[in-house]
Symmetry: C2
Subunit: 153 residues, 2 copies
Amino acid sequence: MATEIERKFLLKPGLWQPAGPGRRMAQGYLSRDPDRTVRVRVVGESAFMTVKSRRTGISRTEIEFPIALEHAQDLLLLCHQPLIDKTRHEVLHDGMLWEVDVFHGANDGLIVAEIELPSEDTEFTLPEWIGEEVSHDMRYTNSNLCAVPFSEW
Amino acid sequence: MATEIERKFLLKPGLWQPAGPGRRMAQGYLSRDPDRTVRVRVVGESAFMTVKSRRTGISRTEIEFPIALEHAQDLLLLCHQPLIDKTRHEVLHDGMLWEVDVFHGANDGLIVAEIELPSEDTEFTLPEWIGEEVSHDMRYTNSNLCAVPFSEW
């Protein structure tokens, strides 16, 4: 059972450009209950199920395992609709990996950058294109973005 | 994606006795939402995840796959509590398989028999120990039995 420690930021307008095509992913939620979110994600030919516990500060328990693509496609049909459709770009900055998610569909226009940390007090530097921190703004969780998408804010 | 067609019955008192020890199983729910129940089940060294859609009559869509025992044990900790603890006995009657679940813990005293059918109009005969049908009584679904256990009825 892993612990996910994550911080999330918006981007300053106009400063970041993707260096490549990124990886398009579809994901949906079988449970949006904050005590036990159940996510199904399909990236190309790969699929994963991820179950996360309630967040304490910026940390939470995460259990993730691969599942068959065929099962994932069936499960996505049962998930809360609409699904999350986004392209993930990986950006290395000062030795740390940033994931920049460019949303499509009902969340078109939203771009969010996340950094996963080995511990809550790990120090890191912010790329110049990083804007406001939204780690504690629950509107930006993917499980909320499929219930109240960015286009409806 | 399979379709589960199932009928469920109570037992007449005193007429059925288990022929063997059966298989003890622990199961919990990550989602009790009737549109997408997510069940984790551990039977001995095996573990499964099962996602079921909303029931239409006695039928519903079911997606089931094996998961690692280690993941299942972690997932059970995140499930709604208390977990379902029961012993399943398989009984052949007139060429059909009946599953008799003897519940323990918070559902102690409850015994339910289920038969899974290839189609809704499959004919079958009832063993003499079968009592009242409860296929449409939602109190008897396992996902409800972990929220409102038999001992609290």
